[in-house]
Symmetry: C2
Subunit: 365 residues, 2 copies
């Protein structure tokens, strides 16, 4: 597409439109979303949780010997073994995680990266030690204002060679819900989900939940890693000012009713009462207050079930009396902050935070 050297060029890639480039297809082959029909499951089945891995999955044949370096503005710097972390009290949280780039592929023009349509989400039971308990033992110095988390995954992006890393501000990092996780759905982490140790930051888009965690560094100034300051920034105008991507925005998805056409995924269903259902979630522990279902542009409120925990998606359900013909179904959620999914995508230069309503075309016979 461009003749620039991918190892040295620091330019943002030019936006694209229309069909998808081979590199976008390559990323889609590596990074998988859920199958929409798997939204039936309260907890996403193993292997169907979305994945967005920037670089190669590190090869870790066994967890024995895995250590995390604790460094920077702490009283007791040094390496802590995973075995020692596992001896601390643990918690299990059901958490819905979504990729910040989910919906990027629906924007026009779009930034050339992973062109998610809408499936970059999943819910799992994560088991680990609250980061706070480890930091309590390590002793944060008073001037530690950010905590950086560095993974074992290494590569290049826009000319920067780096290990994947992200930071949280001190107060966010000290929430009891930020976990150092070693198990997912009751079994050891899979390699592609961060084996043997990862961070999980509930309520945030997935980029905060650093995998293959190797290093925790307390800083007395803002973290300047590439993934913190040069990526994961909202940029509503191509060269305009930026704001950091943080909490997930309110969103909903439905299980497409009926049966599909193999190639187009167009849906066919029989006339009569149809159960339309799916999931909805928001960020930062904010509850979803309402889900509406649109049938050919007419919106009605769905039945919303109480969520099973502060960070897990909610179930919703709506009965539609389907009449023969072509129809468009849609869903949109509203959260307790009063934020509602937009009917059209909000454009973003990097393709972040697109929480447009979910639409499904169906043919009723």
């Amino acid at each position: 597409m461009t003749a620039t050297n991918p190892f040295t060029s620091t330019e943002r890639r030019p936006h694209v439109e229309g069909p998808f480039h081979a590199h976008e297809l390559g990323l889609t082959g590596r990074n998988s979303g859920i199958l929409l029909e798997s939204l039936r499951h309260d907890v996403t089945p193993t292997g169907l949780h979305y994945l967005l891995n920037h670089f190669d999955v590190p090869y870790v044949p066994a967890e024995a010997g895995w250590k995390v370096d604790i460094a920077g503005r702490v009283r007791n710097a040094g390496a802590v073994s995973l075995d020692a972390i596992k001896l601390l009290p643990s918690r299990t949280l059901r958490v819905t995680l979504e990729c910040a780039g989910n919906g990027r592929g629906l924007l026009t023009p779009r930034y050339p990266s992973m062109p998610w349509t809408g499936e970059a989400v999943g819910t799992a039971e994560w088991t680990g030690t609250p980061l706070r308990d480890l930091l309590d033992r390590t002793g944060l110095l008073d001037d530690a204002m950010e905590i950086a988390f560095i993974g074992a995954d290494r590569g290049f992006d826009r000319g920067h060679e780096h290990d994947y890393g992200r930071s949280l501000k001190r107060e966010a990092a000290l929430s009891e819900d930020v976990l150092l996780v070693w198990a997912m759905n009751g079994t050891p982490l899979l390699p592609q989900h961060g084996y043997p140790l990862r961070l999980v930051v509930p309520g945030w888009y997935g980029m905060a939940s650093v995998k293959w965690l190797r290093r925790i560094e307390a800083l007395n100034k803002p973290y300047d890693g590439f993934q913190q300051i040069s990526s994961y920034q909202y940029r509503p105008a191509p060269d305009g000012p930026t704001t950091p991507v943080t909490l997930m925005r309110v969103k909903s998805l439905m299980v497409p009713p009926g049966i599909p056409n193999f190639y187009t995924r167009a849906r066919m269903l029989d006339a009569g009462p149809v159960a339309v259902f799916g999931r909805a979630w928001s960020g930062g522990g904010v509850p979803v207050s309402k889900v509406e279902v649109g049938v050919d542009g007419v919106w009605r409120e769905a039945e919303l079930e109480p969520r099973p925990g502060p960070y897990a998606w909610s179930s919703w359900r709506f009965t539609w009396n389907a009449a023969p013909g072509e129809h468009e179904l849609a869903c949109r959620a509203t959260d307790d902050n009063g934020d509602t999914q937009p009917l059209e995508p909000r454009w973003d230069s990097g393709g972040f935070g697109n929480n447009v309503m979910h639409r499904v075309q169906v043919t009723v016979r």
Copy 2:
């Protein structure tokens, strides 16, 4: 792309070139391959085995009550419960499975379908009952010449509404290695891999291994299901004669050395001795006899380990003394039949059986 009705048009879709269409991207989002770095694992980690599912994954909340109808040219027709099948003697086989469409996306022009590059492969330990043992108890009539296997997954393809189904000739079906499988890598099948019961046909491309198995029918004539006679046919000329897709062709893949660029996946590595390694396999239980590694077009033989079973891929390894600059690495395997991977793709109208050598571009610093 075309205005034809996906539910009624029986036409093959016109071939395409260049960038990838939204429907191709959609299929890539649903159907995931392995990550090449996961070739390090003898058995593909859970969640990374390739998936090609034509229609939606059926929702099966529990295996209790699952039954398979045995019908047609048998002495004792009727439903057999999964519980009863599990009481029969079981076997565990390590099997490498590959999608017949693997490599379709590398062809020019290509058939618009799942545009696999090269990652549609995986190796698992499958546990189940030999189909033969069930058929022995059922009693095949002498005129049963084919056995058809029908799954619970239903949809449309080129105007045909059908449950996914495939058949095997009597003698192939009666091999002791064709299994009715309920466990993968020691745990119950995941929904996306055919829970609660599937067929596994070792040595064949994956289309033969019908998932969510609901019906077994013994026929005294060739099975005429859509996936048997209208799809999965080699067609070397666009409108020429066809031959059925059956056994896997010889193939090899390597773990790309070095570290990647996020977007292009271009590789960077340090000069000096580099371990180049990967896996190789063929179909029908035929062993791989040789793997060669090409460095800038010069081929040398790799070290090949004995395979761990008649249907599992073999490991190979080669040490390359990398000098700074741009290089192309490649691998190609040869099997005991004398078949070798071609240096250029063999074109096929439907994009089946492309076993071209694997090539990786690297920059050495």
